[in-house]
C-alpha cells in the first residue's frame, strides 16, 4: 500500500513538472472570460481584449498612445471626409483565406449593424474599395477621431462569415441571444486561434502558425484562459502557481504579491474616471455653484486614493487623464476643508442639508468604500448623505431613473479622447441626439455643448486640444461634478513572464507579443 502511494505521488509530481516544463503555455486567470466569439455582439472591455488576441485591428494604440500600423501599413488624408488606408499584403485568416480590402468593407458594414457599435460608427459612411489592398474610409462630416476609431475595426473573414448555417440563419447575423454561427466560430487574422471554449469554464487559444507578424517577439504557443471571479481565489491561484498571469489584482493584495519572491505586480494608469454627479433637478441646493464647489473641496480624493485604493489610482481634478488632448494642467485636485466650510456659509447653507446618494457595489474597484468615504467627508460640511449601494445588475436602472440626489458613475472614453467624456457625462441631456445620456446631474451649460460639438469636427489638432482644455476649465470652475480618480489597471504574473511591454492604458494586454522566459 505504501509503495503504491509513493508511486502515485511520484507520478503526480512528475506529471506536474512535466506540464511546467512546456513553458510556452501561458495560464491566464481573469475575472471574466469573453462572452462570445463574435467581436461585434457586445461592446465591452473583455470583448475588445479578446478581439486583440484572435483578430487584428487596422491600427492599434502603442503604449505611448501613438497609433501603430497593424493590418493597415500606412494611411493618408485625401480630403476632409476621407482617409485612404493601404493594407498589409500576404495576411492569412485562420480559415486560410487571404485578407484583402473586401474584408475591411464587410467588417465596417457589420459594425454599423451591431447594436453596440453602431453608435460609435454613426459618422462613418460606406468604405470604398480602391483596389485589393487600398480602401477609402469616409465620414459624413469632418471627423477628428477617424483614425482612432479604426482601432475598433478588426477585419473579419468575409468569405468565412458569408452564407447560411445549418439552421438557415445567415452566418454573419449578430445575435444577442444565441445560437448563431458567429457566436461559436471565428476566423480573424490575430495571433491566436480559439482551440477550445467552454463558456465560463475555460478558453484555450493556440498560436496561429500562419500569423503575419513574424517580427512579434511573442513566444507563447498556447494560452489557457480561466475565469476566476473570486478575488481571493484568483490571487491564491497565482501565488500557488496554478496560473501564470492574473488580472485584476485586488488592491488589498498588492502588498502580498509584491512581497512574494515568485511573482511580480504590474500596474498601469488607466483612463476610467470615477465621478459623483450632483442632480440639480432633484436638489435646488446643487444649483448653487458655491455648494457644488464646497462639495468638491470637501472631498479628499488624494486620501481616498491612498487609503482605499492603496495608491492604485491617480487622484483627479478633471475628466481627462494626462496624455489626453483635453488634459488641463490647471485642473488639479483641490481638497480644502476650511474653504469648503466657508463656501457653504457664503452660499447660506452653513447648517447644511440632507440628501440621498446611490452607488454600485460591484462595478468599479472599491466603489462601495468610496461612496462610504463620501458620506463621512460630506458630514464634515454638515451635508447628511443617505447612501444606498446595490449590485450593478440593479444599479443602472436606478441610475437612469435618477432616484437619488447624488449618483456615482465611472467612465472610460471609447475613443481614448476627452470629447467622449463630455458627450456622455456633462452635455445637456437630450433624448433626440443622445448626448448627455449619462448626465444624471442635469448640469447644462450651452458653452460646453458648443465646444464639445465643435471639437468633434475640428481637424486641426492644436486648436481642438485648446477647445477641449477650455471645457475642462469651465467644468472645473463650475464644479459640474465631483471627480475622484482614474483607476489603474493591475496585473500579477510569475517572474518569468515579461508583462511590462504588453500592457497599456486601455487594459488590452497584447498577448500576441508576450514573452515567457
Amino acid at each position: 500500500m505504501k509503495k503504491c502511494l509513493a508511486v502515485t505521488l511520484t507520478l503526480a509530481v512528475l506529471f506536474g513538472f512535466g506540464t511546467l516544463a512546456g513553458a510556452t503555455t501561458l495560464k491566464v486567470g481573469l475575472d471574466a472570460d469573453p462572452v462570445s466569439l463574435d467581436p461585434h455582439v457586445q461592446l465591452s472591455g473583455g470583448m475588445l481584449q479578446y478581439s486583440h488576441w484572435v483578430f487584428d485591428p487596422l491600427v492599434r494604440y502603442a503604449q505611448d498612445m501613438s497609433i501603430e500600423p497593424r493590418l493597415a501599413t500606412r494611411w493618408e488624408r485625401i480630403d476632409d471626409l476621407t482617409m485612404r488606408f493601404y493594407l498589409r499584403e500576404g495576411v492569412k485568416f485562420h480559415s486560410g483565406n487571404t485578407f484583402s480590402a473586401k474584408d475591411v468593407k464587410f467588417t465596417l458594414e457589420r459594425l454599423k449593424k451591431s447594436v453596440d457599435f453602431k453608435g460609435l460608427f454613426e459618422l462613418f459612411t460606406e468604405a470604398a474599395i480602391v483596389d485589393d489592398y487600398t480602401i477609402d474610409i469616409k465620414t459624413k462630416k469632418p471627423y477628428a477621431l477617424l483614425l482612432r476609431m479604426c482601432t475598433y475595426i478588426f477585419p473579419m473573414d468575409s468569405a468565412f462569415y458569408t452564407g447560411t448555417d445549418e439552421s438557415g440563419q445567415p452566418k454573419d447575423a449578430i445575435v444577442k441571444i444565441g445560437p448563431s454561427f458567429a457566436l461559436t466560430h471565428e476566423s480573424g487574422t490575430g495571433p491566436y486561434t480559439v482551440a477550445e471554449r467552454e463558456q465560463g469554464v475555460k478558453m484555450v487559444m493556440d498560436r496561429f502558425s500562419d500569423y503575419w507578424d513574424t517580427a512579434s517577439p511573442g513566444n507563447v504557443g498556447q494560452i489557457v484562459l480561466t475565469p476566476i471571479k473570486e478575488d481571493a481565489t484568483r490571487v491564491a491561484a497565482l501565488l500557488s502557481g496554478d496560473v501564470d498571469f492574473i488580472s485584476p489584482v485586488p488592491p488589498q493584495d498588492f502588498k502580498r504579491i509584491e512581497k512574494d519572491p515568485k511573482v511580480n505586480l504590474f500596474t498601469y494608469p488607466g483612463g476610467r474616471i470615477i465621478t459623483v454627479q450632483l442632480n440639480q433637478k432633484r436638489r435646488p441646493e446643487f444649483r448653487v455653484q458655491k455648494v457644488r464647489q464646497a462639495i468638491v473641496y470637501a472631498i479628499n480624493n488624494e486620501g481616498i486614493v491612498e487609503k482605499i485604493m492603496k495608491g492604485t489610482a491617480t487622484p483627479a481634478g478633471q475628466q481627462s487623464p494626462k496624455g489626453y488632448a483635453g488634459y488641463n494642467a490647471n485642473c488639479v485636485p483641490r481638497y480644502d476643508l476650511k474653504k469648503a466650510k466657508t463656501l457653504m456659509a457664503e452660499a447660506g447653507f452653513a447648517s447644511g442639508f440632507e440628501c440621498t446618494m446611490i452607488a454600485p457595489n460591484n462595478r468599479y474597484v472599491n466603489d462601495e468604500k468610496i461612496a462610504e468615504a463620501v458620506v463621512g467627508m460630506l458630514a464634515k460640511i454638515n451635508i447628511k448623505v443617505n447612501l444606498k449601494t446595490m449590485p450593478k445588475a440593479q444599479y443602472w436602472d436606478e441610475f437612469d431613473a435618477q432616484v437619488a440626489d447624488m449618483q456615482l458613475i465611472g467612465w472610460h472614453s471609447d475613443t481614448e479622447d476627452s470629447g467622449n467624456f463630455s458627450e456622455f457625462l456633462v452635455m445637456c441631456p437630450n433624448k433626440e441626439t443622445g448626448y448627455g445620456q449619462y448626465n444624471s446631474g442635469n448640469y447644462c451649460n450651452p458653452e460646453v455643448d458648443r465646444l464639445t460639438l465643435a471639437a468633434q469636427s475640428e481637424t486641426d489638432l492644436a486648436k481642438r486640444s485648446a477647445m477641449l482644455q477650455k471645457i475642462e476649465q469651465i467644468l472645473y470652475d463650475d464644479a459640474a461634478f465631483v471627480p475622484f480618480h482614474w483607476q489603474n489597471h493591475s496585473y500579477g504574473a510569475k517572474k518569468n513572464v515579461n508583462v511590462a511591454p504588453i500592457i497599456n492604458t486601455m487594459n488590452f494586454p497584447y498577448f500576441g507579443d508576450i514573452v515567457v522566459k
Binding site: T8, L11, A12, F15, G29, V35, S36, Q42, L43, S44, V115, D116, G119, L120, V175, K176, I177, G178, P179, L183, Q199, G200, V201, T226, P227, I228, K229, E230, A232, T233, A236, A237, L239, S240, G241, D242, N362, P391, K392, A393, Q394, W396, D397, D400, D414, F424, K431, G434, Q437, Y438
Partner: protein, 324 residues
C-alpha cells in the same frame, strides 16, 4: 390507493404551478438582463427595441402563458448569458455539483463515524474532549472562511493541492467527471473538505449522543451481563441502533448541503449549479434563474411525492387519514 396516488400527483403539479408563478413574478425584480447584454453606450431606444424583440415588454400574463406552454413541452427558455437552452446549461453543470456533494458526503461518513463512536465509548478521554471543543468551533466558522484558509494553507503555502477549478475531467456519456483522473481527485479534495466542514461537527455530535444513549439502554446492559465481547456489543449491537436516526438526519442534511454548494463553488471557481446560480443572479440572467428554480423545485417535488407514495404503500394509515 389509486385515488391517493392521483391526489398526490395533482398536488405535486399544483406545487410546480406555484413555483413557476413565484419564480416568474420575482424575475423582474432581479435586474435588467438587457443591461448585461449590451455595452453601456447603447441608447435607451436601442435597448427598448431589443426588449421588445425578446418579448420582455409583453404583459405578465402573456409572458407567463408563453413560458408555461413551452415548459410543458420541456423547453424552459434560452439563457441570456450562455446563449443556450437553459435546461442544457443546468444539465451540463449538475455533475460538478453532484460530485462535490458526493465527495463531501464520503468525507462526513468516514470521519464522523469513527470519531463519534470513539467519543461515545470513551467520553472522558482527552481526544474526545478535544474533538467536542473543536466541533463547537467548527460549527461556527463560515464555509467561506474555511475555504479561503484551506486554499492558503494547502495551495499557497504548502503547494500540495490546486487552488481552483475542477482540473482534468473525463466525459462519460455527457457526464463530465473528475472522479477518474488523479488531477480531478486532487481538485476535489479542498472543495469537498470545505463543504464537509459545515456538517461534520454536527454529525460527530449526533453520532456521539445517539451512541451514548444506546449504550445506556437495557439490552446493552443485558449484553454486558451476558458476558458478550465488548467489541461485539459496541460495533454490532449498539452501533446498528445508533445508525437509524443518523441516516434519517443524513438524508435531510444532504439537501441542505446543496444550498451550501453555492458558497463553496464560488470560492473554488467550481463550475457547478451553485456557481451558475450566483452568476445568473449577478448577470440578471432571468430566464436561467426561472429554469433553475423550476428544476430544483421539480427535483424536490418528485422526491417528496415518491416518498409519500411509498409511505402510503408501507403504512396504510396515511392513506386513510388523508381521506377524512
Amino acid at each position: 390507493m389509486f385515488a391517493f396516488v392521483v391526489r398526490r400527483i395533482t398536488q405535486a403539479l399544483f406545487v410546480m404551478l406555484i413555483i413557476s408563478l413565484v419564480g416568474f413574478s420575482i424575475k423582474n425584480k432581479i435586474g435588467d438582463p438587457i443591461r448585461d447584454l449590451v455595452g453601456e453606450r447603447v441608447t435607451p431606444a436601442e435597448r427598448e427595441l431589443l426588449r421588445d424583440k425578446l418579448g420582455l415588454n409583453d404583459p405578465f400574463v402573456t409572458q407567463y402563458l408563453r413560458f408555461a406552454k413551452n415548459a410543458v413541452q420541456g423547453d424552459l427558455g434560452v439563457s441570456f448569458f450562455h446563449k443556450k437552452p437553459a435546461l442544457a446549461v443546468i444539465a451540463a453543470k449538475a455533475p460538478a455539483t453532484l460530485e462535490l456533494v458526493f465527495g463531501a458526503a464520503l468525507i462526513i461518513i468516514f470521519i464522523s463515524l469513527p470519531i463519534g463512536v470513539f467519543s461515545a465509548i470513551y467520553p472522558r478521554s482527552a481526544f474526545s474532549r478535544f474533538t467536542m471543543a473543536f466541533s463547537t468551533l467548527g460549527v461556527s466558522v463560515p464555509v467561506f472562511l474555511t475555504a479561503i484558509v484551506l486554499i492558503y494553507i494547502f495551495s499557497v503555502e504548502l503547494n500540495w493541492l490546486p487552488s481552483y477549478g475542477r482540473g482534468e475531467t473525463v466525459s462519460l456519456g455527457g457526464w463530465d467527471s473528475g472522479l477518474f483522473t488523479v488531477d480531478g481527485i486532487m481538485h476535489l479534495i479542498l472543495p469537498c473538505f470545505s463543504l464537509a466542514s459545515i456538517m461534520l461537527p454536527l454529525f460527530i455530535r449526533l453520532i456521539r449522543s445517539e451512541m451514548m444513549e444506546v449504550l445506556e439502554t437495557e439490552y446493552i446492559k443485558f449484553a454486558w451481563a451476558k458476558g458478550l465481547h465488548r467489541k461485539r456489543i459496541w460495533f454490532i449491537h449498539a452501533f446498528k441502533n445508533t445508525l437509524l436516526p443518523v441516516i434519517t438526519v443524513f438524508g435531510v442534511q444532504i439537501g441542505i448541503m446543496f444550498a451550501f454548494t453555492i458558497l463553496t463553488e464560488t470560492v473554488f471557481q467550481w463550475q457547478g449549479m451553485g456557481f451558475m446560480f450566483l452568476e445568473a443572479v449577478e448577470r440578471s440572467d432571468i430566464s436561467l434563474l426561472v429554469a433553475y428554480l423550476m428544476v430544483v423545485g421539480a427535483v424536490f417535488v418528485v422526491v417528496n411525492t415518491v416518498v409519500d407514495i411509498i409511505y402510503g404503500l408501507v403504512n396504510p394509515t396515511i392513506r386513510i387519514a388523508g381521506r377524512k
